[in-house]
Symmetry: C2
Subunit: 403 residues, 2 copies
């Protein structure tokens, strides 16, 4: 059986994701699609709309065969670490290819850019540093440095000002550095850009647009044309059983309490909190009643929205720099769900996999896994939903979903 | 002007407190009554029903002339430290006497007991330790050890199984150890015992009984016969402007999040958390949806309810063993409110006071005071009241109440 990997968040699953799965299968002639999926906190540094179980069900019902959790440490990390975690897992799962959506649409510009930057590594890194000293955020600095190096080359290189291209670049970088067997493939993203609002005349909208529409209108049904009906049903089921969707707005009372309770010295110990921003974070939390107010107080040219949200995620879960340093690579393959086809693939490969398969968390001792369980517990509390009547510790009780 | 001190919590102010103030004034022929009052967290280890400002207003309207805040470190401490903080403040305020309510009602048995225990200090402490090793809580062990030492003496000693006698004993102990000028006086507590429920045929009820009636019935008006009308008005005003009363039930979502977010190692760093109880606290918080369930999981013969609640207070505010060790004595006199008479007294004495008077917090740098401000902020957040529209930091904005 031939497997192709994809790296996803599905927050929530929509028609663009459906297209991505279908095209990945077609383009690589895959028997099995394996998705490495982020848990309850995402790369943009925010709590997921619905939990990993609900999103796993969405994925399995729309063409994915196996869902593996990307551990918290990598799921909430900057692009290069996020990519390292993801590709390591897909390689360990013996996927023959991995397929990512990009603005670029073909793989050659990625590999060519990687070659150029590798040969000019030192000049490139110095240039990034210089731009950052001028007050630019990391992605902007990177982009300027990249332009400086590549403009005179007159080669078809990848445009690294596009968010999915950046991620794609890091996938290629990781695969090359690991000397992975897995083969990179890319497909062109269609229609919706990353941050685009929902356009009722289109059937493809970005997840960001869908979330915005959901929070603005509160109507789930209106989103039906942007996602498979199985995903819509999942959203409705969540709304019915939990009552609220995950967001920093929802988590704000607990996040705010956590920030104010901490000393600034303590805040600075959490991953990604640097350069004295802990003082601003502490002061803004004291002053601001809402998450929106808080963000507009903290946001500056220096840091992207995403970067600040990642700091907040780590403050919320208590994840420190020290712990970040300790966890450089995934150490297990946690199965969140699978189809019967997926199950067959895993039984076939089980003995050859280079990382242990985890389906029962209670039977596994692993400090990286402890962080996932911890993050899940805090996600459940953050919802502050009176409808949730069960104690935390869902990860201990819930076996993989089998479809 | 002659001042008499009292040590109070007024949670809430009731007829028993009114009697205490009136009798204290009469018995000591005082011109001025100075109350040292706990802030927003109390000696039983719980958040106050209404905040310190509201309770200050109750006190001033019912006969107290000056209200001084007992700093968090002492207000939430075991009896001996609570007494040390209180008496130190009253001595610094140049009170000629302090007057406490006790089950005993006369001062001689207290001083006699102090003399007996001081001369047999070592045997007494060893005996307490031995009883604790048998699994008794500290107050029970103390009481048994005290019985062993005193039964054969055939002297009129104080009965240390009574909560107000215990506190009274520690006041005397502190005053003696400090060689304080302040003279101890006691008056007999009338009618209601510490934990008694509200009895509609009596006009005196304990504060515990009143709080219970308030949370059980939710009716404030029914409490009118147990408190001065000015206190009742204050409760109604609070209910109207804040909407909820302080309690661990109300604070539970934030307390629970704080416990679950912490590692057990971290929990053990907070004041009063000892002997591995952090594991039980962590486990119980994960399992229990409500504060009641949590307490019934954690409660054992080994620890009193009050002791456990004090641990929770320190976990909630992030107050560590280390910080406890750093703060052995009050370092300022924080004025929460005063009558014009009280103001006159303070201007008269200002130059001779052995501790600095603090009326504007923003102008003062003191690490002990920082803890009070921090506790106030977390109290405000704990209420989780959508009616509170102001940022935290009330302590910076609010000048002393002047009546």
């Amino acid at each position: 059986m031939k497997a192709t990997g994809v790296v996803v968040e599905h927050n929530p699953f929509h028609n663009g994701h459906f297209y991505h799965i279908k095209e990945s299968r077609k383009k690589t002639a895959a028997d099995i699609i394996i998705a490495v999926m982020s848990g309850n906190f995402l790369q943009r540094g925010e709590p997921a709309l619905v939990d990993k179980w609900s999103r796993t069900e969405m994925a399995l019902k729309a063409g994915v065969d196996i869902v593996i959790e990307l551990p918290y440490v990598f799921a909430t990390a900057q692009a290069s670490d996020f990519a390292r975690g993801s590709i390591t897992l897909l390689e360990a799962l013996e996927c023959e290819a991995f397929c990512f959506g990009s603005e670029e649409g073909t793989i050659e510009p990625f590999t060519r850019s990687y070659d150029v930057l590798t040969t000019q590594q030192e000049a490139y890194q110095n240039s990034i540093k210089q731009y950052m000293q001028l007050g630019l955020s990391y992605p902007k600095a990177l982009n300027e440095a990249y332009s400086d190096i590549t403009t005179h080359l007159n080669l078809p290189l990848v445009d690294l000002s596009k968010p999915n291209n950046i991620l794609g670049y890091h996938y290629i970088e990781t695969a090359c550095q690991m000397q992975a067997h897995i083969k990179p493939v890319t497909i062109q993203r269609i229609v919706a850009n990353y941050h685009d609002n929902v356009d009722q005349d289109q059937s493809i909208a970005s997840a960001t647009g869908i979330r915005k529409a959901l929070f603005d209108d509160g109507s789930i049904e209106a989103l039906g044309k942007f996602m498979p009906h199985t995903s819509l049903e999942q959203l409705l089921k969540w709304k019915d059983s939990i009552g609220v969707f995950g967001s920093w707005q929802q988590f704000w009372p607990l996040l705010r309490h956590t920030i104010i309770r901490s000393s600034t010295k303590n805040l600075a110990s959490y991953a990604e909190v640097t350069e004295g921003i802990e003082h601003l974070i502490h002061e803004a939390a004291r002053e601001c009643e809402t998450f929106e107010d808080f963000m507009s107080r903290v946001k500056s040219k220096r840091y992207t929205w995403t970067r600040i949200q990642r700091m907040l995620t780590h403050i919320y879960t208590g994840f420190t720099w020290e712990s970040l340093k300790e966890h450089q690579k995934p150490t297990y393959l946690r199965v969140l769900g699978m189809t019967q086809n997926g199950q067959k693939y895993l039984s076939e490969k089980k003995k050859n996999l280079s990382l242990p398969l985890v389906s029962r968390v209670a039977a596994t001792k692993d400090s990286l896994l402890d962080l996932d369980i911890h993050a899940s517990d805090l996600y459940q509390l953050g919802l502050q939903s009176p409808k949730i009547k069960q104690p935390v510790g869902m990860d201990y009780r819930k076996p993989p979903i089998i479809l």
